[in-house]
Structure formats: structure tokens, C-alpha cells
Amino acid sequence: MLLNSVIIVLREVLEASLLISILLALSGALGMSRRWIVWSLGFGLIGAIIYSFGVTVISDWFDGVGQEVTSAVMQILIYWLLLAATFLVLQKHGVHQLSDKLTILVMAATVALAFVREGFEILVYIYGFSNELPRFMSILTGAVIGASIGISIGALIYYFVRSLSYWQSLLVGLSLLALVAAGMLSQAVLLLIQADWLPSQLPIWDSSGWLSETSVTGQLLYALIGYEATPSALQAAFYFGGLMLLLIVVAIAIKVRRQRGCESHI
């Protein structure tokens, strides 16, 4: 029971923790205040509580697939926000700096949304045991341990990115962000397939024998790069399409920066 709660909470916390640590490290590298994380998590927590109360109603939407659709919409939103964050991070320290406020707003919205998604499941899980006190304590202990491990891994990534030089930290941070973003898109596609909004297909490969999604490495890679042992073609297409779009945004951002740089020298 204890071990199970450790794993459940760790899985949920890990995804949010990775996203938070990368965004925090990037805002740190850009010399911005990192205080946004406090109110962003606050809003996320409020959102998660509201969602866990509303989930019974939400689940019934769209002929019983409201949960999938809502979750997919949130993930697609996170993808677009990460796209915007990537652009804004690359604009920073250009000659015409876009305001820090916009960057912070985008980052905070991303974290809050991610927190709603992951926090809701933890809340529903823990709340389910609230009327069995001995079990509840064991679940709670497991949840604290799981959350601590997840946060520690996030902290490790944060300090790793922060230990790099300015351009290295931007490169590593944005690359990790791109993988997380593409993973979000692929998860959203999976949810829409589960809801029967997108056609389902046989998996294009099965790497579960080589690296199981249930293994620790599999779980970590799932959170970091959206690893799937048996993805469908649609998922793979959106994953790589999502990465491609991000690369295009990076190219545009760099070009805009260069042009601005040239203008200012005239």
C-alpha cells in the first residue's frame, strides 16, 4: 500500500516537477525573479481542487469522455504555452527586450495548468482513503515520500541547468522543454484516441520488451520525453511534428533577434 502510493504520487509529481525545474532554471538563467512559482502553484492547487470536485460532472460531458477531452485540451494548451515560452526566452537579451512580465505570465500559466492536471489525480487518490484512518496515514506517508523523490529529481535538474554557462543552460533548458512539450502533444493525442475523437491504430512499434513503461527508467523517460512502449502512428506524427514546429519557432526567434540586432547598429 505504502509503496503503491509512493509510485502513484511520484509519477504525477515527476511530470510537473520536471517542467517547473526547467522553467525555473531558464528564468534564473535570464536573471528574472523566480517568485512567480509561488502564485503559479497556488493557482494550480486551487484549480486542482476545483477540478477534483467537478470531475464527476466533467466526466459526463461529450457522452462520457469529458475527462479525456478536458485533459487533452490542457495538454495542448501547455504545448502552445511552451512554444511561446521558447520564443520569449530567445528574445530576452535581444536589443528590444520583450517584457519579463509576459515571459513570467506564460511560464506561470504553464506550471499552473500542469499542476491542475497532476494535482487533481493525487487529490482524488488521497481523498478516497480519508475515511479509513490507518490506511490514510500510510497513503499520506507514501505520498510525501513520492512527492519528495519527484521534487528532488526536479531540483537535481534545476541545479544541473543552473551550473551551466548562459548559452549552454539555454540550449539544455530549451531542449528539455521541447521534449516535454512534444510528450504533452503525444499524450493529448492518446487521450483523444481513448475518447474515440481520433482514430485508433495498431502500435507502430513495441519496445516494451526492451524498455517497459512500468520500469523506473521507463517512468522517468515517460515524464521527460513522453516515452511510449507502444505508440500509434498518430502519436508519433504529433510528437515529431510538435518538435519540428518548436524548431521552426526557435529559428524564427533567432532570426528576429538578429534583425533587431542589425537595426540597432544602423
Binding site: 492518446l190 484516441i193 474515440d196 512500468t214 502512428a233
Partner: protein, 115 residues
């Protein structure tokens, strides 16, 4: 000569077209019902046809929430206490696909047998 990327994108496109085709042919999907009672799945084994999309109806008769989860089926869904959930699965190749209740994995276990 076709480049590797264009061949890959063509393959993906073909896969998409074929699967859309498969969906339209099987317009009325078979429904399979499952119940969760005392943190157990009833029945714990369901048989579904191969290469067919199936609508899984899961009724949670317990007052507590459960999460239907299967790595093999790539499915995951929270089902609140005394609620029902719709989960579409398949088309699948013949075989056994285990699923479990993530909140009570020690008891809530089952399998989808695809024939």
C-alpha cells in the same frame, strides 16, 4: 528516388488513411461492460474480438474512486465513486492485455483477452 523522410511521411499518411477506413467500417462498436465492486473487477476477464474497436463501460459500484489503468492498452482514466466511465479500446491484435485499478492494485486486476 524518394528520400527517407518523404517515404516515412507517406507511410504515416497511409497508416492514417487505413485506420480512418477501419473506423468508418466498424461504425457500431461492440460494448463490453465491467463492474468494480469491493476493489475487484467483475468480470476480471473480458473477451473482445481482434482488430475491432470496443467501447468499454466501467461501472464503479464502490463509494471510493478508482483509476482504470493499463500499460498494454495505453489507457488511463479516473472513475469517481458510484460513477461510470466510457473507455474506447482497440483495434487490438490477439493476445492478453492486463489492466488494473491503480488506486487498489493489490486486488483490482483483470485482463482483456483479444481473440
Amino acid at each position: 528516388m524518394m528520400s527517407r523522410t518523404s517515404r516515412l511521411s507517406l507511410q504515416i499518411l497511409m497508416l492514417l488513411v487505413f485506420s480512418l477506413d477501419a473506423v468508418s467500417v466498424l461504425a457500431d462498436k461492440p460494448v463490453v461492460e465491467l463492474e468494480i465492486r469491493d476493489h475487484l473487477f467483475w468480470p476480471s476477464e473480458v473477451v473482445v474480438p481482434a482488430n475491432t474497436k470496443v467501447k468499454l463501460m466501467v461501472y464503479n459500484r464502490d463509494p471510493t474512486s478508482e483509476e482504470f489503468e493499463s500499460y498494454e492498452l495505453n489507457r488511463e482514466k479516473v472513475i469517481m465513486g458510484n460513477q461510470k466511465a466510457v473507455i474506447f479500446i482497440g483495434p487490438l491484435l490477439p493476445g492478453a492485455y492486463p489492466f488494473f485499478g491503480e488506486f487498489h492494485p493489490e486486488t483490482a486486476q483483470g485482463r482483456v483477452i483479444v481473440e
